[in-house]
């Protein structure tokens, strides 16, 4: 399966999903005008990937800011991971000064049953 790579823009994050190493990364800010337009292709890729996945995988998130419609998109993304029943760990990174992203991670963690680590970056 091809890797998924999307370059960052001002309002969308850098996405690099590697199907060989099973490391999936999303880095940056997310507040596009239309979250569906940006995230739907990511969901499509993930569905195929998850159906073929036999190894453990890690989703690494290093976000600076997400708006509410992106936060909705992340909820859908986490649901996809959770419902797949595959061995997936989420590593939610936050900058030590970014309380909003810390809180946002804690609220996702509350809502999910998959392993969800919250990691402070200096």
């Amino acid at each position: 399966m091809e890797n998924l790579e999307i370059q960052a823009t001002n309002a969308t994050p850098f996405v690099i999903f590697n199907s060989k190493t099973n490391i999936l990364e999303i880095i940056g800010e997310s507040y596009p005008e239309d979250a569906a337009l940006f995230y739907n292709p990511i969901f499509t890729w993930l569905k195929t990937y998850l159906s073929q996945l036999t190894q453990p995988a890690t989703l690494i998130l290093k976000l600076e800011y997400i708006n509410t419609s992106s936060s909705k998109a992340f909820m859908i993304l986490f649901d996809l991971l959770q419902e797949s029943g595959k061995q997936i760990t989420v590593n939610w990174h936050y900058n030590y000064e970014n309380e909003m992203i810390l809180e946002c991670g804690e609220e996702f963690k509350e809502d999910l049953t998959i392993p969800f680590n919250i990691i402070m970056d200096k």
Binding site: E33, N67, T68, S69, K72, E97, E107
Partner: protein, 184 residues
């Protein structure tokens, strides 16, 4: 407008403690460009947490205008519907206000009044539960239903209940104004 009026106009903005004011057609490009400037300015004068909060309330408010306008575009080409006003002000060293205004139709007005009245009565904890519940509910991303989540989020970040006003323009349209006060 006369050149002789410009100084007075600027003084008025200063007296109202306005740091940024944009009125006119709104696009995602404007959201990003103005947002970058707001962030740079706030970073230099306040804490990272306050900067983030003001920025996020600004984004939710202005994108509500943007999404509402997009929705209207197909039915009505009137450019007024794609326009709005957004304001960031600083009332004192650790308190900002973020305001936005745009035209809404009678139906939108009813939906907004219902939601805003509901939010007014809620505690921070209730707002959080309501946000999480609403975020979980729909399994599809639909931008046109996004306004609800955005307003709940604004209420969560505001340090006082949201102030709102509807100025009726005619039998169909009102000008909707919203103000969020953000403290550290």
């Amino acid at each position: 407008m006369l050149t002789t009026q410009l100084y007075e106009f600027m003084q008025q903005l200063n007296n109202l403690k306005i740091l940024f004011c944009y009125a006119g057609p709104i696009s995602q490009g404007i959201v990003e460009e103005l947002g970058r400037n707001i962030k740079d300015q706030l970073k230099s004068e306040s804490t990272p947490n306050l900067t983030q909060k003001v920025f996020s309330v600004y984004v939710e408010q202005i994108q509500n205008i943007l999404n509402y306008s997009t929705q209207k575009q197909s039915q009505n080409e009137d450019s007024e519907f794609k326009s709005g006003i957004t304001i960031i002000g600083r009332s004192n060293s650790d308190q900002y206000f973020v305001m936005a205004g745009n035209l809404v139709d009678a139906n939108q007005k009813q939906i907004l009044i219902q939601l805003l009245n509901k939010l007014k009565t809620m505690t921070k904890e209730e707002l959080k539960d309501y946000f999480l519940e609403k975020r979980k509910k729909d399994k599809l991303l639909n931008e046109k239903q996004g306004a609800g989540l955005g307003l709940i989020d604004i209420a969560r970040k505001a340090s006082e209940p949201l102030e709102c006003h509807f100025k009726d323009i005619d039998s169909n349209y009102s000008f909707f104004s919203i103000k969020a006060i953000i403290k550290n």
